[in-house]
């Protein structure tokens, strides 16, 4: 069934079950993303793809990567409110991706686009920059596409980390499918499989790795 909706003032046709992000893409309307990947299930972690949707006169902000298209839906991919969300999100993740005074990878492009002050929260950021924004693309690609489950999340909240599971990471030597996915370029720059020798997940959790 074809569904007609409006994105940024443009009539767009979409198939039932599609997300707003996919419909926009097909119509040539670009929405910024950090955790989205077309081969993976919608995850909704980065919230960069937030858009305004209007339905029966009610305006909501939703993650376009997960919101299903609906007949008559009115979508705005840019607005002062949306731009502020994207700007502040970039400002919040900037300190963790900072390398030599500059933010890494796609964060740099987005910071420019949305006028984010990448140094806004720098002085208050007291953790060690990990360069990882926890978009989970590597984790999910390994689970959903490769099927190796060699990388996963450990810890909760601000302690959350993406970690290779040493027992599984042998496969990574030849696979390396996640290398090109990372929006901040952390994986290819930091993955050195030798360090996993003799370590287990327990070691990782105990902070030895």
């Amino acid at each position: 069934m074809t569904i007609t909706l409006q994105i940024d003032g443009k009539e767009v046709n979409a198939k039932e079950g599609m997300t707003v992000l996919e419909a926009a893409k097909e119509a040539g309307i670009e929405i910024s993303t950090l955790c989205y990947h077309e081969k993976l299930k919608p995850y909704g972690a980065c919230r960069i793809c937030s858009v305004e949707v209007e339905r029966k006169g009610r305006v909501r902000i939703v993650a376009s990567c997960g919101y299903p298209v609906e007949q008559g839906l009115v979508v705005r991919t840019r607005s002062p409110r949306i731009d502020k969300i994207r700007k502040v999100i970039i400002e919040l993740v900037a300190p963790t991706t900072m390398v030599d005074g500059e933010v890494a990878g796609q964060i740099k492009k987005l910071a420019k686009e949305y006028g984010a002050n990448i140094h806004r929260f720098e002085s208050r950021f007291r953790a060690k920059p990990t360069r990882c924004i926890l978009c989970g693309q590597c984790v999910r690609y390994c689970d959903e596409v490769v099927g190796e489950h060699a990388i996963g999340f450990v810890g909760r909240g601000i302690e959350r980390r993406a970690a290779f599971f040493p027992e599984k990471a042998r496969a990574c030597l030849t696979c390396q499918a996640c290398f090109d996915l990372c929006p901040t370029g952390k994986i290819p720059s930091e993955t050195d499989f030798v360090v996993f020798d003799g370590f287990s997940v327990d070691d990782y959790l105990a902070g030895k790795l």
Binding site: P42, A45, C46, S50, L92, R156, I158
Partner: protein, 643 residues
């Protein structure tokens, strides 16, 4: 094995008659809360054991029964002992009080005056619950049965008419009629969201896909809140009966009770309740001969606050990490394993049997226009009567805090009340006459939430309060989405800095920016509401933020980094009390020599302030102004002549 299964409504009636006929109405019953964590921690188990020993000793076993119950509400006065049939109410009972209670009250049928409750405002003693202001203003539809029930003993619940609502629903009503009754009752979700329960049920009922699931959410985790725990501990069958009725209305054959790991008694009581209900045939196949089948599994949580969120809870039941997912399709339609799943809070389910028994019209007669029925609150913090209270919706905050709570201790001034836990916010004095319901508190920027009510007095710093709740959420956020994870991290850093006197120009704007983005863009309700404590404290106490940032002053004199302790030489009588109590030996002086505090050694533990006798009040807390110099070494104190 003889089957205890009841296969008809008549069977239930006979069972109840049988239970009641075995009970001697002349027998005295001693009700003690031993099946609740708070009662236990205050020594109720020892009191109960002493009763058992002494009663055996006195040969009174045939005249007195002991009923071990769950929470009875007045936690501040635990261990509480209630003696039925009169309902004589003793507070703060110690094991050594037991012989006197037995000889005076059980044998001579007289009161032990000193164990009665004394009203802190009127000074009057009350012999029964109905004489006590804490109880007088309550309406305990859901929570009132706790004091009559040993939760490990299904017969106690049946004796009170338990499972009669189930019998009525299953045999006299169609599922559609049950659903209609709940819809008409206007019951709304007690977990905090306030979503109309009937509409949620209907959504799951009408959603395509089998099997359908019904779930009890007992993953309560707000700081200071323990309503759900006390219901699950004290009256698990009340919750279970509601669940089975809901399952019948929805067309579900399988249910879960999700209990957080930190609630061992609630977990055990839920398991026992399911087992006993199965034995009687209130669960299983062909319940009460109605043809309706339903089974329940008790699921132990793995210790994460965020697991109380519906998608996270359902992931946890599936055996995955309890982490929220996007839910643009509601869990009522696509929940556990993608099947329609109806999740309601403990208290919501517990409201179902009374509604079926007494009708939607009765329920609608209680409460406000859009919030019907009662709500249980855990009244804690700086309030005289702490405990669990159940009141009709629409009672004002002032009545809750003053009439039931007995006001603020030690004559201090009320400052604010935090409602709705870490997702809620603070409400200041000028709004104390607001009626409590789902909508009114939301208008103030807070929410009623699941019922946590933390009262704060003038000594509480509002920036520090915001910092506390933000830190709580920061530790409990799953970390999946950026606004919640990084927003909370940064809010915590900024608020901590402000409390430590390191606040900067622009901090308030930064807090507001982050809060706005968290509200707009976070993945789940933990993130969208987590900034509320910061926003409401800013809304009502912005001057306190500004004092911290610009003047490096904490108006409540609570933030350690901004507060110094000083002994007024004019008032100090060199009584040596603070001198002796200071843990770091920061206080100098001696007998007859005025005391003074060496600031470098002072850890601001507040001990000197607390121990200085009120008639001297020589220790002062100073914030935001220069500290007067200490007296010249060896200055002698001028003492008033002893009278």
């Amino acid at each position: 094995m003889t089957s205890k299964r009841i296969s008809s409504p008549e069977g239930l009636g006979q069972l109840r008659k049988g239970i009641l006929s075995k009970r001697d109405p002349n027998k005295l019953i001693i009700s003690i809360c031993t099946m609740s964590v708070c009662g236990q921690s205050r020594g109720s188990v020892d009191v109960c054991k002493r009763f058992k020993d002494e009663i055996r000793h006195a040969g009174l076993e045939n005249k007195v029964d002991i009923r071990e119950t769950g929470c009875q509400g007045f936690c501040e006065r635990e261990p509480v002992v209630i003696i039925f049939p009169e309902g004589i109410y003793y507070v703060n009972v110690k094991p050594d009080d037991v012989p006197e209670i037995i000889s005076t009250t059980l044998v001579k049928r007289e009161l032990v005056e000193r164990l009665l409750y004394t009203d802190p405002t009127t000074g009057k003693k009350g012999a029964k619950e109905s004489d006590i202001s804490f109880y007088k203003n309550q309406m305990r539809i859901v929570f009132g049965n706790n004091r009559y029930i040993n939760p490990r003993y299904i017969d106690d619940y049946i004796a009170l008419g338990g499972y009669s609502a189930l019998s009525r629903a299953l045999l006299q009503m169609t599922p559609a009629q049950v659903l209609e009754e709940i819809k008409k009752s206007n019951l709304r979700g007690r977990g905090g969201g306030g979503f109309p329960t009937g509409i949620k049920w209907e959504t799951t009922r009408n959603a395509p896909g089998e099997p359908k699931y019904v779930i009890v959410n007992c993953d309560e985790g707000d700081p200071g809140a323990y309503m759900d725990r006390s219901l699950m501990e004290g009256n698990p069958h009340g919750v279970l009966e509601g669940l089975v009725i809901g399952a019948y209305a929805i067309g579900s054959q399988e249910g879960f009770i999700y209990v957080r790991q930190e609630y061992p008694i609630a977990y055990e009581n839920a398991i026992q309740a399911v087992k006993q209900a199965e034995e009687y045939g209130f669960l299983g196949e062909n319940i009460l001969g109605s043809g309706f089948d339903f089974k329940v599994k008790v699921h132990l949580g793995a210790g994460a606050f965020v697991s109380g969120e519906s998608t996270a809870l359902m992931s946890a039941i599936e055996g995955k990490v309890g982490e929220p997912k996007m839910k643009y399709i509601h869990t009522a339609v696509s929940g556990i394993k993608g099947r329609p799943s109806c999740l309601n809070n403990v208290e919501t389910w517990a409201n179902v049997p009374p509604i079926i028994n007494k009708g939607a019209e009765w329920f609608n007669s209680i409460g406000t226009d859009r919030s019907k029925g009662t709500k249980i609150f855990s009244l804690v913090g700086k309030v005289n009567n702490t405990g669990l209270v159940e009141v009709p919706m629409g009672m004002t905050l002032r009545r809750l805090i003053y009439d039931i709570g007995g006001g603020i201790p030690k004559g201090k001034k009320f400052k604010a009340v935090q409602t709705g836990g870490p997702s809620g916010g603070v409400i200041p004095e000028q709004h104390l006459d607001t009626p409590i319901d789902f909508d009114e508190l939301t208008k103030l920027g807070s929410m009623m939430g699941s019922g946590g009510t933390v009262v704060m007095d003038e000594d509480t710093c509002m920036v520090d309060t915001a910092r506390y709740f933000i830190s709580f959420c920061c530790e409990e956020s799953c970390g999946k989405c950026i606004p919640c994870r990084e927003g909370l991290r940064m809010l915590r850093e900024i608020l901590t800095d402000i409390c430590e006197g390191k606040g900067q120009e622009g901090d308030i704007e930064a807090i507001e920016d982050i809060a706005e983005v968290m509200q707009d863009a976070s993945l789940c309700a933990l993130g969208t509401t987590a900034a509320n404590p910061a926003l409401t404290t800013l809304k009502y106490f912005r001057d306190e933020y500004e004092a911290h940032i610009k003047e490096k002053r904490c108006p409540a004199k609570a933030c350690k980094a901004l507060t110094s302790y000083y002994i007024d030489p004019e008032k100090c009588t060199a009584c040596m009390i603070c001198f002796k109590n200071c843990p770091t030996e920061a206080i100098h002086g001696g007998k007859g020599i005025i005391h003074w505090i060496e600031q470098e050694k002072c850890i601001k533990c507040n001990t000197c302030f607390e121990v200085c006798p009120p008639r001297f009040s020589a220790v002062r807390r100073i914030s935001g102004e220069p500290l007067p110099p200490p007296p010249a070494p060896g200055t002698k104190a001028i003492r008033e002549k002893k009278r």
